[in-house]
Symmetry: C2
Subunit: 154 residues, 2 copies
DNA sequence: GCGGAATTGTATGCTCTACTAACGATTAGG
DNA sequence: CCTAATCGTTAGTAGAGCATACAATTCCGC
């Protein structure tokens, strides 16, 4: 008991009040992720790329010839999810698949010229997006935040 | 130039290496959110409740009679998304809708007895989930993390 | 070397979340 | 009183994640 009724409009608690949810770390991660996701989507509206697609382009650029399973491992995606990402990027001619010469089970992934170009544009958008994010923190805080988040995803 | 080939299996970089992605705050928030989401889903497998559903139950419990639009505002969901959440919870008889007496446009949301019970169980699962999360941090760190995440979602 | 187990890619189908656009009902403001 | 704004609702679209099943390939024990 004690929770005040809101049937009338004399709301006694401010609109941002989240009650007991306020102290839950997981809840804040969820909201923060949502906010970042929304801003990302706006920033990348012109490029029409999602976070996952950009991450995949980026990783394939840094690890040319990487296999799908390895790409998925680093981005914490399962095989099926990785497939749909790569399918879309291949359909837009940003990426191509080749059978690996060392292991015929694997596909080796490479960026096409169009993919390199798209990634270059994406990097500029990411810089902008990150600037929006980092404006809230000092350099030390940003570093600490990244380090703590890394502890969560191992 | 510079990026080592992975066509062969002499991978010169460790499997956790994310290259330039490492420094991107948004990327770490994404991965952390994924990890939290996965653990949450495991923890709540028996209850068959999602993060959003639990958050909604919790908020309606703290603000009985809250309108859908207000619920959505606090959880950063639009009206359509809020609808589907409330629909599911109502279908499982955890929540009921009533027309607001003060504003006939609004629905006033209340937990049913089943909803109260489900929330009680959910709270125990959340405690477990949060303990898993908090094990990585000191009390001070956890507080700082929450505060920094709050800066992101305002 | 051979046969069974594990790995990788692929296809299919389901779910949750989120968004847009439209519409009707109700309320609020000039 | 009439118009604009708000709220709920429905329908459609899309990304992301997961499970399952299957084929091809490789690996390992014998």
């Amino acid at each position: 008991m004690g929770a005040p009724a809101l049937t009338d409009d004399k709301a006694p608690r401010p609109p941002g009040d989240l009650g007991g949810l306020e102290g839950i770390i997981g809840f804040h991660i969820r909201l923060a992720h949502g906010a970042v996701y929304r801003h990302f989507t706006e920033t990348f509206a012109d490029l029409d790329l999602t976070q996952k697609q950009v991450s995949a382009l980026w990783l394939v650029s840094e690890f040319p010839g990487i296999s799908q399973i390895e790409l998925g491992r680093r981005l914490r995606m399962d095989r099926a999810t990785t497939m749909t990402i790569v399918n879309r990027l291949q359909a837009r001619a940003f990426m191509r698949r080749e059978r690996s010469t060392s292991d015929a089970r694997k596909q080796a992934l490479y960026l096409t010229d169009g993919g390199v170009e798209a990634l270059a544009k994406a990097r500029r958008c990411i810089a902008q997006h990150e600037a929006w994010l980092k404006a809230r923190f000092t350099a030390g805080e940003a570093e600490k935040l990244v380090e703590m988040l890394a502890r969560i995803h191992e």
